[in-house]
Symmetry: C2
Subunit: 390 residues, 2 copies
Amino acid sequence: MNEAAAAVSLLRGASAAAAEVFKSILTRGPITRIDIARLTGLSQAAVTKAVAPLIGAGLVSDQLESQRDGQPGRPANPVMVVPDALVFVGIKVNADEIVGVATDLTTSILASDRRPLRSTNLDIVVDAIEATGTTLVDLLGVRAERICAVGVTVSGDVDAHSGIVRESAIMGWTDVPLGKILTGRLDRDVLVENDVRALTIGEHWFGVGVGTASFAIVTIGRGIGSGIHVNGAVVEGAYGVAGEIGHLPLTSPDRICPCGRRGCVEAVAGTPAIVAEVSRGHGKDLSIDEVLDLAHRGDPIAVRTFEQAATVIGTAIATLVNLAGPELVIIGGEAVSDFDLFEEHLRAAYAEHAFGAASRCRIVTRPHTFEDWARGAAASAIRRLAENRI
Amino acid sequence: MNEAAAAVSLLRGASAAAAEVFKSILTRGPITRIDIARLTGLSQAAVTKAVAPLIGAGLVSDQLESQRDGQPGRPANPVMVVPDALVFVGIKVNADEIVGVATDLTTSILASDRRPLRSTNLDIVVDAIEATGTTLVDLLGVRAERICAVGVTVSGDVDAHSGIVRESAIMGWTDVPLGKILTGRLDRDVLVENDVRALTIGEHWFGVGVGTASFAIVTIGRGIGSGIHVNGAVVEGAYGVAGEIGHLPLTSPDRICPCGRRGCVEAVAGTPAIVAEVSRGHGKDLSIDEVLDLAHRGDPIAVRTFEQAATVIGTAIATLVNLAGPELVIIGGEAVSDFDLFEEHLRAAYAEHAFGAASRCRIVTRPHTFEDWARGAAASAIRRLAENRI
């Protein structure tokens, strides 16, 4: 058993208290044992006892650069993870592309690979994921030995426990046992997760969410999704579905969503709906780039269509905020690069419908690159290991 | 210092681990120390150490009726709270009535009092709360010495941390420092909480929510509200507001809500909106009883109005479920007694808009009496003490 495998098996066998200690070090480190005790409610003795085997396995260090000459092992000495100890692979499946990264324990990228998809046919997608995995292994060289898990994310209704993609409108998939198929093909531990939930996990553990008591990520673009983080964790849904802001019934019933339901947010505010509406107005098929160009040049049909989409998104965010009351909403997704077309009407609709003090929730944008989505996939694999889940 | 005061100060000074142990005993007892360790992730030694002072203070017992002859103090012996150790007062403020109860540590009712309110004027309400408090003290007799906190609940945007009712449409209040006023008048520790959130806390700690990983309570009637329990706790809202299902913008903008916003659920589905709509249809002012009677007798205007209200409520529940993904939704509130008028269209709208596997969430009804609401108020005061919050 190599060092990484030994570390993985230590984490898998950890008690709930030891897992809490590792999680604190991973997400809050460098951190002193005293602060870990404060954060977890454990005694200092219990923390010290939990930290020792983590140091022994090379997962954690108390030999920080700044204290190399000090006395290790003292409670006031901060400890931190050894990022290189383990390697994770994160893969984001889009309808037209596979984006893969290999990261360390803190989701810093060690290697990356992107490859186009000819179609969303399952065999083609699985082949492409395998090819991306092989490329990442080649790029990693000897460090590939430390790969301990693969996270794969897909838009839609994904059951992370069983690894089944139950419904993905964008991929055209229903009840696809992706986890099982990929575990066989990659010969690794594979976790399948909803893409936006994974992005939220990544932000919570390693991004803007660290130290924020509650937040939501709303992604706009081809699909409209959200991840909600309250009461210390991302909302998973009792049946694996939550945060489906794109499928809130906030628009007219004559707008049919790609999911088949009526009046969904995505049926007006998703990029395909916007392109279709502007194309209809101009009596010809336009591309998304042409539609964006028209809107930026002030074409009334395009401008009005973006305004309608923005109003629906703002109303949906107010709906989320009135129910979940987060501290912060982060808008991401590919359409954020054209946020100027949305901002005014989105904020106006939000202000109109946010209730009472919930409206103090700030709305910020953050451009997530495709690699950030893949890092989210890696983050969910890291979390599963650290929390001993599933 | 009497015994109850000593117990309260023990709980206030408890470490996070000791508070977790007490909470496990309170909500899951009778429970063995071994199971507490399993539940909290603490070592058995830490649990035993935390239990001892709780027994010493008379809050917890390991001398169950069934094991009086056994050997106390053994890890396999279950422990449970001594319900009588402390007494709490819970008061629900309605627009036309004050409902108060005194309960033990498990929200069993020891005494109760109801009195009508002539108006929602603050002085009148505070006087009535004080009179209810005095009556409960009289009814309790010597047990009144053990009262350690008062929970008061009001509909609307309530900041439990500051005790300020920021906005309550039903009471016509804005920024009322109710906590401060009542602390002075009752000379007790007073917690002010949103009424539906308190009901949810009560169900989570002492009701249907025990052992349920996630659930939501949706109340229908004069106001439409909800409390959402996910990730181990009721969603509080970063700014004190959450679960405002009555103010989701799911209806036509020409419907104006009592809160002043357009298109809120309550503007169509709240009892006053239903009564106004049927009255308008019949060209005369009708009472709620007359409206219910018309609907039960099949009057087309009344039937259609209830159907519209039911559709909006079902759509709102689907919205909550798509975002929060609970295991179970419990419909309560005074309108549950006429659920037959709502059920068909409510369930149809829910089924139409619930997304993917989230739709597996079951919808059940539970008639909460007014005293249940007051018990919820007591439960929030119990929780604050047990969790050392605010």
